[in-house]
Amino acid sequence: MIARILFAAILAGFAAGVFVTGVQTYKVIPLILEAETYEGQPAAGHEHGRASTPEQEAVADDGHSHGAGVWAPQDGMERLFFTLMANIVTGVAFGFLLTAAVVLSGRKISLGQGVLWGVGGFLAFSLAPSLGLPPELPGMPAGDLGARQMWWWSTVVLTAGGLALLALPRNFAFKALGVALIVVPHVVGAPAPESHATAVPAGLAAEFASATLAMSALFWIVLGAVAGWFLARADQHAEA
């Protein structure tokens, strides 16, 4: 039974990872590539001085990597191949986490219920973190990386925990605590950059924000639906 459950997570993650690569190729990656042409350039507007950080300059050296001389995939098919692989790994990782939540909840699962679980995943892993840390194009300024990663994880865990409490039936105290958990990271606030000045055009950043949110929503719906379908089959098998 455990093997069937884990296998369902892997299959769903694989399917969602391949699917999302298609969406990205159409709508997200072109924006990343365009933003990279502005990377390392001084910010537009009134800041004529030194606007790029040492890291941004290192990034400008070899296209899209940190320190110079470190391996990076060649632009084109090789880069797309690694993106596909990384999307599949991400898909399977989220597939495991979604499956863990479904299985631990002990609730009945189906394709339709899976979509609802997927929406929960989108709220916790995409929408809530995006509220504090806007989707970020290469070359855009941002706060300290470690602090942002910590805020991202805290927000994900608190939002997921809050949603779990909200889903508990008819207990007002738990529901109130759930809302509080979801709100807390936004009251505390995400680490902000010192300045928003960037050479990346605002229109490009806005397009990227809506594209990534739509992409994530589609990804989570597909992941939830496929995981729900496979998990329902695993359930039937266990009951038979």
Partner: protein, 61 residues
């Protein structure tokens, strides 16, 4: 009747145990993989997963 209840409870707790094992295994595997693909500070991992990290809006750079 009593027998039936006892066997039902045993079966249920067995499946609860299995559910816990499956759920916790999946949670650990998922967290570990997500940390590797989206959050590891290794330059090589970062470069390989660069577009994925930006697209899923993980904090990057």
């Amino acid at each position: 009747m009593l027998e039936k209840t006892a066997s039902f409870t045993a079966a249920q707790s067995l499946s609860t145990q299995r559910r816990l094992a499956a759920g916790l295994t999946a949670a650990l595997l998922g967290t570990f993989m997500l940390l590797g693909v989206g959050f590891a500070h290794s330059d090589i991992l970062h470069n390989a997963a660069h577009d994925t990290r930006h697209a899923f809006t993980f904090p990057c750079h």
